[in-house]
Amino acid sequence: MIFNTFAYYLLFLIPAALLFRVASVKVRPWVCATFGIGFFIYFSAMQFGGWWGAVCVLIFVWESLFRSLYKPGARVCLIGVLISVLVLVVFKYWNFLTGLPYRDPNDNGLRWEEAFLPLGVSFFTFEFIHYAVDRYKNRVEQGTLSEYLAFIFFFPTMVAGPIKRFQDFVPCLRQPMVNPALNWNRGITRILMGLVKKFAIADLLTSLTDHLNRNDIAVAERWVLVVWLFAYGWKIYFDFSAYSDIAIGSGRLFGIKIPENFDWPYVRVNIADFWRHWHMSLYKWLVDYVFIPLGGSRGSVAFVCRNIMIVMLVSGIWHGAGLNFVVWGAWHGMLLVIHRLWIGWRARDGDPPTGSLLGRVSAWMLTYVCVNLGWAFFAMDLNTALYFFRRLLIGQ
């Protein structure tokens, strides 16, 4: 983890935020870009691929030059999208895809032995795609080179999002900071709270979730398997929302508003509402750049359900290179489809949406349980997850 290192705060965040505060409007983007480049190289060399990982900064250099060709309606924008997808596929999915025909990964002749993931590859490629598509559709201005570099190299969101939008980011670069003291107060509070969520809650829950492996599942008492699964749901929430808190709080120190990523997702009463409040920046990205281009909600029920399934499969695959993530995505796709059909059926019948307390509590429980059942496929590989449910349901 990067946010728990002294280097993040002492070498990057605090100097960059202070310099950003005193810099002129023209210089501010260069402050972000310079520190972001240093951040990428430093932490890549330390943790993500060594010096080869650091060399991947050239991906950003290429992107910042290539994007100058993007014009509204120009096909080169689509080439830019393809290049970003290619970068993601090669680094993240090469071994998974080439290994699919083989039972034993060692039999894969095309296996990339020293494979590594460039720092934040899943997130920066999605920001590249967003910019390319929105330029194609003339939804975003080109911006200067320094502004684009600041956008792609903004280091608080580089590691784990939230996924930003260029048209929301640039105004914060250009406008003078309003009430820096308030920004720093909120930013510091948000960062500290994120660290508390990470260390005091998420890491403590790993004492339960570390047991989600075949050996421990085999010897544990069956009732505790349920505890472990729900603990995983809470651990992943606190872990991921902590990263978002630190990123958003860090952005606040610059006076830059980063989109929220989590909004009490576990209190939502249906699966669609859950997804509107869980990893919100990813959800919005998937809606804008996958769901709507596929046709969105315009069409027959079967067509819309197909689109929903594709979006959730993409979401699953994006989260990890493994069949378990595909199953996880499919599980949520299925839940969303069922929810959509249910809403449609209730509307056809003329029934008003249920507002009774019992109804809402039941709906909440059902949503909560279904989401947590899906976490089994997120936490464990496919075979282990299936073994987990076998052990839980039938004891073997």
């Binding site: 709270m193 005091a200 790993t206």
Partner: protein, 61 residues
Amino acid sequence: MMNRLRWIKHLCEYLGGAQDVSPNSFFMPPGSLNWGLWWGLLAAVIVAFCGQSSKFIYIDF
């Protein structure tokens, strides 16, 4: 009860830095010195819990 829950939600978000405006009848504006104490408390919790990636064999300290 829903209003109470919304108030608690707003309070949690305010104490967590996600809201700029304090909830009704909670007097701790952003300029209050109490934030310094709150930060000190959060820092204490962070220091206490941040060692969980340490490898422990011997534990009698």
